[in-house]
Symmetry: C2
Subunit: 195 residues, 2 copies
């Protein structure tokens, strides 16, 4: 099996066991996607066509607020699932942009194939039940944890939790993730570095 498919099968196999036949079936429902650095996987206004699994690279998922300021909700790297679930499920236009910060490779599942998947291999209800449950847990933990911290503390936590990602992204993007201006991010970094 090709490396990217092995990667996604390993990911799914964390929660459910698949027969060889089921693996083949699942793989047949996926689409290979490549996206160059600085290219958009999707833009606000689009109706999301796919849910994505990253096999290589790094992308940022963000919205623009009324003032045009970006808010990054996640950096998606190898083995992450991403997309805009709200738009994917409701078929309404998204408010998100997904932009590659490095040349990236992904596997996508279309909405039609996602629905088909549950019919063909009902076990996937369980896979997604557990995946969403875990996403919910870590999402709640993340937002709740950040709530009473200062920007400096949130930055220190991010560095501790994602040491590899810090070095792959710009300070500006980091600011948009932490939720502060690039200027203040710069101030924090020089403050933290001289400790």
């Amino acid at each position: 099996m090709e490396a990217p498919y092995k990667r996604i099968i390993d990911n799914v196999s964390r929660f459910i066991d698949l027969t060889e036949l089921e693996k083949q079936k699942y793989i047949s429902l996926l689409t290979e996607i490549k996206v160059k650095r600085k290219a958009y996987l999707m833009q606000a206004g689009d109706i999301t066509k796919y849910e994505y699994f990253i096999t290589k690279g790094c992308l940022k998922v963000y919205t623009l607020d009324e003032n045009g300021a970006p808010h990054i909700s996640m950096f998606a790297v190898e083995d992450y699932w991403t997309g805009d679930m709200a738009s994917f499920i409701t078929k309404q236009p998204s408010r998100y942009f997904i932009k590659a910060t490095e040349d990236s490779e992904l596997l996508g599942i279309s909405r039609a194939n996602y629905d088909l998947l549950f019919q063909e291999i009902p076990k996937f209800e369980r896979f997604y039940r557990i995946l969403y449950q875990r996403s919910l847990i870590s999402y709640i933990k993340r937002t709740n944890h950040g709530i009473s911290l200062t920007a400096e503390e949130r930055f220190i936590e991010f560095k501790k939790k994602y040491p590899k990602i810090v070095n792959r992204i710009t300070q500006k993007d980091l600011a948009a993730y932490i939720g502060i201006t690039p200027e203040f991010m710069s101030k924090i970094i020089s403050r933290v570095n001289q400790m």
Copy 2:
């Protein structure tokens, strides 16, 4: 069927169809719980025993930060699901308190029965897949929406979205939900009222 059971069956029936037998089986796995105003359903340090469905009343779900300040993550009223999923799933001590703000009635499912449910009626994988998916969507929407708003704007949004809940809770609890001090909440309310 008794009213509270009808309520939960209606809720489940939004996403899956159950036979009479399955309904009976499901109901047999639930526990009826009553909790008086100001009593705790659970406290930080507890390992969560149940996931809850509210059939009557109102509860607040909150944590205390390092400074002892409360942060309310939700007000749970009739037809809401609540609990601490992280603790329920991982069997680790919770960092949440759930306290009734009115005399309340709930249906709980224990961890053992939750696991059993998936064996006995696999359709529930689908129910929870969809429930968690929707929770994730609305959770992401909520946090992302609030991100660039001032406290005053968040308060106005809350009033618009939950007009009934506003009148059931104290200003202090509202402040702990919006994410500001009670003093500033008071200031905002008098400002908004004289507009």
